[in-house]
């Protein structure tokens, strides 16, 4: 059966750096078999790497913490939603500021990863619930969407 758009792949993996290279490569390969260009796949790989690294570094407090990543693949775009259990208040504030800052001057050295994601994506939203569960939603559009 041929791929029918849109379709969703959901995954959950341990909050451990060791899993990130395999996950980013997986997303890249999924995009390539879904007829996205290798350039688009590579740039999406970078997004996955950055958001997963942030989730592991700042969103996992317990040893058994896991990260949920959802990829909703449309014909012309991919939407990522990454959820973690949330970090300290300080880290959440930094994340909120990094996602919401609009000018280049506001970007601190520590928030460069988020800045790269912003550069490579169409939109980025963050949701933090009362229990500090953090969810980031990113949309990246196909660059050659006319074809």
């Amino acid at each position: 059966m041929d791929i029918v758009f849109p379709y969703k792949i959901a995954m959950s993996f341990p909050g451990d750096m060791e899993y990130i290279p395999a996950i980013r490569k997986f997303v890249s390969e999924v995009l390539q078999v879904s007829n996205f260009s290798s350039k688009f796949a590579y740039r999406s790989e970078i997004i996955v790497d950055e958001i997963s690294n942030n989730a592991v570094n700042y969103g996992c407090k317990e040893e058994c913490a896991c990260i949920d990543l959802e990829c909703l693949i449309h014909e012309d775009r991919i939407e990522f939603t990454i959820k973690d259990q949330g970090g300290t208040k300080e880290n959440l504030d930094k994340l909120h500021n990094a996602v919401n800052c609009t000018t280049e001057n506001e970007v601190s050295k520590k928030a460069l990863g988020i800045e790269i994601v912003r550069m490579l994506s169409e939109s980025m939203d963050i949701k933090i619930d009362k229990e500090n569960l953090t969810s980031i939603h990113i949309v990246r559009k196909r660059e050659d969407s006319s074809t």
Partner: protein
């Protein structure tokens, strides 16, 4: 210039059998090597069993070569008793310096305490880790999925042969799930992977197509006489291949869905 005073605190890690954290803060200069040595003496004296010691260094601003030598001595003592000493939370500057000194060939470095404890639990307490994947039944997605599991296995220390066999098993199980499952993106295939240092297990669950159930059951039916297999028989070879490559295979098949459970022990 006055050096920042060294503080050392030893704590057992709750929820673990043998992990200990030594929190260092300040400067580890050549004048304080006796303090480091005393710390390892305390660990030797107070904890008789093999200890996995995590040196928490996020508050350390300097490490002298003499102090590093003392850590090497401490690690040797721990290793003789079946333990280990690792570093966690080193800042980039210190980590670079230790790498230049070749310390990364002796010690393992972890980004933070949590990663070091996870590594201990994985290696010493054989805690399993779980990977969960849900995907629509498209054959084109199978190659990325098989590569994902294979990469995870290699990353977790499995050898190339094991990783390749795992990849082959995943390929067969997923292809079967797609072939015998209901078509359509809403009929997701669910894959749960559980990996520990000794074995990997997969459970692949799909919603079976009622029209294909008969063929699936025929494939699962144990062959009474092996000689009945004909060389031109092209069905059911995938399952035989999985049986050959794995240590345990069970299939639960009912009207609601089919669940394939495969266990593969680590060989190398």
């Amino acid at each position: 210039m006055q050096s920042k005073e060294l503080h050392i605190e030893i704590n057992e890690v709750s929820g673990t059998q043998n992990a200990v954290i030594i929190n260092f803060s300040g400067e580890l200069c050549s004048l304080c090597i006796s303090k480091i040595s005393d710390t390892f003496d305390k660990i030797d004296f107070n904890f008789t069993s093999n200890k996995f010691v995590i040196a928490e260094m996020s508050e350390v601003t300097m490490i002298s070569s003499a102090a590093l030598g003392e850590f090497m001595g401490g690690r040797k003592r721990l290793i003789e008793k079946g333990g280990e000493l690792v570093f966690a939370g080193l800042n980039i500057e210190l980590r670079t310096k230790l790498n230049l000194m070749g310390a990364n060939k002796v010690f393992r470095f972890y980004n933070d305490q949590r990663s070091a404890i996870s590594a201990y639990k994985w290696e010493y307490e054989k805690h399993p880790e779980h990977l969960h994947l849900s995907f629509p039944p498209y054959l084109k997605l199978v190659p990325p999925i098989r590569s994902l599991v294979s990469r995870v296995a290699r990353q977790k220390g499995y050898g190339n042969r094991d990783a390749f066999r795992i990849e082959t098993i995943i390929d067969e199980v997923c292809n079967n799930a797609i072939e015998h499952g209901l078509e359509g993106q809403n009929n997701k295939i669910d894959m749960k992977v559980t990996i520990d240092p000794g074995k990997i297990e997969f459970v692949v669950t799909s919603i079976s197509d009622p029209e294909k159930m008969y063929a699936l059951r025929a494939l699962l039916k144990p062959e009474e006489d092996a000689t009945k297999w004909r060389t031109d028989d092209k069905r059911g070879r995938g399952l035989d291949l999985i049986k050959m490559l794995s240590n345990e295979l069970s299939v639960e098949c009912n009207e609601a869905g089919t669940s394939v459970h495969v266990k593969k022990l680590r060989e190398e």
